[in-house]
Symmetry: C2
Subunit: 306 residues, 2 copies
DNA sequence: CGATCTTACGGGATTCGTAAACATA
DNA sequence: TATGTTTACGAATCCCGTAAGATCG
């Protein structure tokens, strides 16, 4: 038994896109010579292409003499399908190549509000300049929802503070930031040579919500019950407004300093307390590779860590 | 210059239907081994097929490890086009093969009413038994309209009495028939040893319309002004009714004898007068070959001439 | 006889299947 | 380690382009 002989095709005869192109070109130009030229083939090679198609189809598709080339009735039947078929195929390939070359695509990213407002915009500006056709979706939510979005496939990537190395999710260290005291300009805490946790206790304090990573780390460094909690708010922008109004002081992550540094009447001071720093992780699914578009954003993020 | 090197594809990369089939099978089965088996290929050959497709597409379409095969995002993009594309291609080929094997198709035939009523039905019964899927269109009209229909592409074939050998049309001799006297049974013309044209003159005569071939040939043999014309009618069936009612007698072509031979009270007698016979031609276009279906009918007609 | 399609043919690329190497759970 | 994909490789096949042949107007 000759085991190396190719087996017969399982369902249909093999048709190549080049045969389809040749057919459509010949049906349009009605000349082997001209159609061969359009397909960048020698005329005999082109002829063989058509013959192969006719053989695969099981019917003569063109009537030809040396002076005349025309579709047979069967050829007309096939033409009605072949022309749109070829167009669809080429569109499908073009669409695919668009995705591969980042002329089209979609990336969805979930990350902490502080990064979304401060660091991300400049990054996305560059990304959009390079790949204007790629659709972007950003979810500026806290760590837990960030991770949930990746887990549920709603986001390709997330930046969050939770190290989730599960069978589903892969987390890699991305960046870290320190925390900063924010208070009205000229506040006496700004002058102390060494600022300790207990130094904050006498002052009215604007807390962030308990589920925020900032709050949780701060609670670990300074027992909350000992503090003079003035209020709890959700947004860092609100913290900024409260402190600027002189209602109290607060502690915010470095990535959100852009909220405060540009505000007249406000001052900040880095807190170098042990344990009071945030580790950020880049989180993605384990079971899916990133799409080309997502990988491009991933690379750009890694190359431009805050 | 290496002139035998294949030139690059003109527009799109070459994709074969086998690659499309392989892609769809792999997307469905998510296993190279099983998909290769379904495509009747060795697994490495199948793998190469997919790799070739990915190369042509310019993007990786599957994420694969030894334990897991899944579509990439780009693969999903392509799948949306590929599956319907393959289905359409296979349907187009099936349709084409149906036409080639006469499971489908269409033939239109124009021929004289006498043939349409007498000879054709039995022929078409056989044709339909062999090719039940082929649509038939019959125009039972006189010679001139028969020819016109072929000339205008409304009919594939015609049987008519005019020899039209023009640059457009090809006519080949098909058959011929003689003319017959029809009269009430027991009429004295039936008894004469030799029946001559002038023997008809004393009797009331039922004429066919002037544009019919029967009438024109009869007028050439017997001057119409000398005849006792009772009336002119269009249809041979009307002639039959008139003669059966004893109103007169008439002359009809042999192919229409089936109208008369089975009628009680009627008799016929062949007229062997010089020039009084009809030559029938099979007419088709010169610039188009017959479709497979039309050719089948053509062969059947030739093999079963009246 | 001139334009055009088909056949013939040699060389190189392609693709097959078997076997071995490689990778991951 | 076991299952499943990729690489390696020799052989058969396919496909190209050139050249010669056939055919119709």
């Amino acid at each position: 038994m000759n085991s190396s002989a190719p087996l017969t095709a399982p369902i249909s005869a093999a048709i190549s896109s080049r045969q389809l192109q040749a057919f459509v070109a010949l049906a349009r130009l009605r000349s082997f010579t001209r159609a061969a030229a359009e397909c960048h083939l020698s005329q005999p090679a082109f002829s063989a292409l058509i013959q192969g198609l006719e053989q695969a189809a099981g019917a003569r598709l063109f009537e030809r003499s040396t002076r005349h080339v025309a579709l047979t009735v069967e050829g007309e039947v096939f033409e009605r399908s072949a022309a749109p078929l070829l167009a669809q195929l080429q569109q499908a390939l073009a669409e695919l190549r668009d995705h591969a070359t980042l002329r089209r695509g979609k990336v969805s990213l979930a990350l902490l509000p502080s990064l979304a407002a401060g660091w991300l915009p400049g990054l996305l500006q560059r990304f959009r300049a390079d790949y204007p056709g790629v659709e972007l979706q950003v979810a500026d939510v806290l760590s837990e929802p960030c991770v949930a979005r990746v887990r549920e496939g709603q986001a390709d990537l997330a930046i969050a503070t939770v190290r989730v190395d599960t069978p589903e999710l892969r987390a890699e260290p991305f960046s870290s930031d320190r925390f900063h005291l924010v208070c009205p300009a000229g506040h006496d805490l700004l002058e102390r040579p060494r600022l300790m946790p207990r130094d904050l206790l006498p002052h009215p304090f604007i807390h962030l919500a308990r589920h925020s990573s900032v709050r949780q780390l701060l609670d670990a460094a300074v027992h909350p019950l000992q503090m003079r909690t003035l209020m709890e708010v959700e947004q860092l922008a609100t913290v900024m407004g409260m402190v600027r109004a002189g209602l109290g002081l607060s502690v915010v992550p470095g990535f959100s300093l852009f909220h405060f540094n540009t505000q007249p009447g406000l001052a900040t001071r880095e807190l170098r307390w042990k344990g009071l720093h945030r580790q950020l992780f880049l989180i993605r699914r384990r079971d899916r590779e990133l799409s080309t578009a997502a990988r491009a954003l991933y690379e750009l993020m890694l190359a431009n860590r805050p």
